[in-house]
Amino acid sequence: MKADDPDIHWVEEPKLGLAGKMYLPLFVQGLTTTARHLVSRKVTVSFPDERPKIGNPLIYRGVHRLNKDEQDRVKCVACFLCATACPAHCIDIVAAESPWPDREKYPAHFAIDELRCIYCGMCEEACPVDAIELTSFCDLTGRSREEMVFDKEKLLSVYDQTKDSEPMRSASMGASSGRATT
């Protein structure tokens, strides 16, 4: 980019008045913020003795789950859109022809590296059938890196644990929900 590029918008440094040059008003402003935090309510909690309060679990971005359809089958259609959207490249899918006549494609293998994930929620955004969702589970531990790679069964079990407290965004896939294009 050159200095005379029309996309560059040049800004002049604002002229400082007497008050600005003295720093005093800004100094007072800063100290006021500090003092306010000294007396206000604490937001930190001493985890794990104390649990953080999760506001709305439906929009919280914690551990993933793989939703199931009405017939208790994995809802995912193995379209790889979550893997495409994932900025951390932590989703690994192997697609195969589904064993069910009414479904075409399903994930034979689906794994998320929970350590590599940055919990941005892009996978949830990208999913065309609302199969992958982030739950409000936030304290996950494991004894090895391998243990923290959650496979399909584990992600489905997260669904079983959370389906009552955090309902699915949409129960059906595609057609009847009217989400086909536009």
Partner: protein, 542 residues
């Protein structure tokens, strides 16, 4: 000289050029969307996507009179004085309406459709379609049925361009596919009991502009946007079709034909298309091994020490018994690799015997009505290796010529290059190699000969090589590697480059330049090789 006017710009065409509106507009950079038209097939003008405004300029007065209706660009010849308008509002409106019509019944299952990402319907919808959908139909799933062993039809995704039907009628002449029904009920189908089973059936999948035809070999295995495409050359037979190798993280997922008017036009055969599976076979040799005579077993060898070690052994034998070194140049080697090997062995021993490796032949050449030929010779580079042999030895000796000398124990050090996909040597033939003091075998898979080698070197597969192949019609095509060889495998080129004491990494282009200077047959390859290859006969006085 014909002058065509496209969107106000004049385009000069040669007299012998027969272009239609789509091709003429493409010359000036205007992309006219189309589904049913394909340069290799007949024109049916059925999809109506390429509708354009046309007119004619009066040669006398220069006045332009336009046709009141839109006409298909694919069906309108670009003759002298023809006027095309491809970007007017009327044309754009027509495209949007065609696109809307096609999408009324098209299932919106792009997430699970293998074509998504390279689909015409998808691309044109974004480029030419309307912003919103007026139909209240929301189809999401497609019926599917198998058309044959290799192809699945997703019935509802089809836009009835009939490219696949025309392909089986015009190119293969087998005519398995037909259009069933009329109007909105039209479907592609096969006749009962006659599945799509010709040897070029895979091409219909490439031809399909939407995801209606799926290749069972590729289906569901990878999304197209994850793959990188590399230009390559098919090593399946001596036709040497230009191909595109689609790969993701060093795994080949599919091969597609690449347009080359001199060799394969737009097509390739199924044998070549699915002939990449051996590249990822688990039976491939995984690392270099050397026979430990004292322990009577193979031990792992080290690639970094091998070149000097082999060089020492070959030099010692050549000194002790001059003329006792031999090299078998496989027709699977690239021209560069064959040249480096021949040059190296002749450098060690000026009397070294050099022969052409066994040429695998299966059945007979098969030709299709439009001229596409599947060769019986299942190796990519016999002509190239022969030319290299002719340069070094003055004749082309075959593997069979070598065998008596081997059995008689006249040859003490033998280098055998392989690269064969299946069993190429039997136990009895391999036994005669027991007499050699030093046997180096470089091959993809284990073989009776490999079991007798003092050095077992794993070879690279076609997608892993850099180099050039010369096809049966003396056309040389160069290619770069598409995937890296598996752990423990080094390409023949890089090993021979190091053994020839050349500096740095293996650079096939440099070797080819040297070959072009040295060997008359390759003189046409002296400049950069274009994507369609060069005809080596062009400089020969025959």
């Amino acid at each position: 000289m014909a002058t065509v006017i496209i969107n106000g710009q004049e385009l000069e065409l040669d007299d012998d050029e027969r272009l239609n509106g789509i091709q003429a507009a493409a010359r000036l950079g205007y992309d006219i969307p189309h589904y049913c038209w394909h340069p290799g097939l007949s024109v049916v003008a059925s999809c109506r996507m390429c509708l354009v405004e046309t007119g004619r300029r009066d040669p006398e007065s220069g006045e332009i009179s336009m046709m009141p209706k839109l006409v298909p660009g694919c069906q309108t010849p670009a003759t002298d004085g023809t006027v095309f308008v491809t970007e007017s509002d009327k044309v754009k409106q027509a495209r949007a309406q065609v696109e809307e019509g096609l999408l009324i019944n098209h299932p919106i299952d792009c997430p699970i459709c293998d074509k998504a990402g390279e689909c015409r319907l998808q691309d044109y919808y974004f480029e030419h379609g309307q912003g919103s959908r007026r139909a209240d139909l929301r189809p999401f799933t497609s019926r599917r049925r198998s058309l044959g062993d290799t192809v699945t039809l997703f019935v509802d995704r089809c836009v009835m361009c009939s490219r696949c039907v025309r392909f089986t009628r015009e190119i293969t002449g087998t005519g398995e596919l037909y259009v069933e029904g009329r109007g909105a009920g039209e479907e592609i189908d096969v006749f009962p009991g006659f599945p799509l089973a010709n040897k070029m059936a895979g091409n219909v999948v490439d031809l399909c502009p939407v995801g209606a035809l799926g290749d069972k070999d590729f289906l569901y295995s990878q999304r197209v946007w994850f793959m990188k495409s590399h230009d390559g050359v098919c090593a399946g037979c001596s036709t040497g079709c230009s191909i595109t190798i689609d790969e993701n993280q060093d795994r080949v997922y599919r091969l597609r034909p690449r347009e080359n008017p001199h060799i394969n036009e737009w097509w390739m055969c199924d044998e070549g298309r699915y002939g990449y599976h051996h590249v990822h076979s688990e039976h491939r040799l995984a690392g270099p091994q050397q026979f430990d005579a004292e322990a009577r077993q193979y031990v792992n060898a080290d690639w970094s020490r091998l070149p000097t070690e082999l060089d020492k052994k070959f030099t010692a034998i050549a000194k002790r018994w001059p003329g006792s070194v031999a090299g078998v140049l496989s027709p699977h080697l690239s021209v560069e690799e064959a040249y480096l090997l021949a040059k190296y062995l002749r450098g060690v021993d000026p009397e070294a015997t050099l022969v052409l490796g066994p040429v695998p032949v299966e059945g007979e050449d098969e030709s299709f009505p439009q001229g596409f030929t599947i060769r019986a010779e299942k190796c990519p580079n016999r002509r190239g290796v022969e030319a290299v042999l002719e340069y070094f030895t003055g004749r082309v000796a075959t593997f069979d010529d070598l065998l008596p000398d081997v059995a008689a124990g006249k040859l003490h050090a033998i280098w055998v290059s392989g690269g064969y996909r299946n069993d190429w040597i039997d136990e009895a033939t391999a036994e005669s190699f027991d007499a050699a003091d030093l046997l180096v075998v470089q091959d993809l898979f284990d073989s009776p000969l490999m079991q007798r080698a003092h050095y077992q070197l794993p070879a690279a597969a076609f997608a892993e090589r850099d180099g050039s192949y010369v096809n049966v019609a003396d056309r040389l095509q160069s290619f770069r590697w598409a995937i890296r060889p598996p752990m423990g495998v080094r390409t023949e080129g890089s090993l021979l480059w190091q053994m020839s004491a050349m500096p740095g990494m293996y650079r096939a282009g440099e070797v080819l330049a040297e070959i072009a200077r040295e060997i008359g047959y390759f003189s046409a390859a002296v400049e950069e090789i274009p994507a369609v290859g060069v005809d080596l006969k062009v400089n020969l006085l025959v």
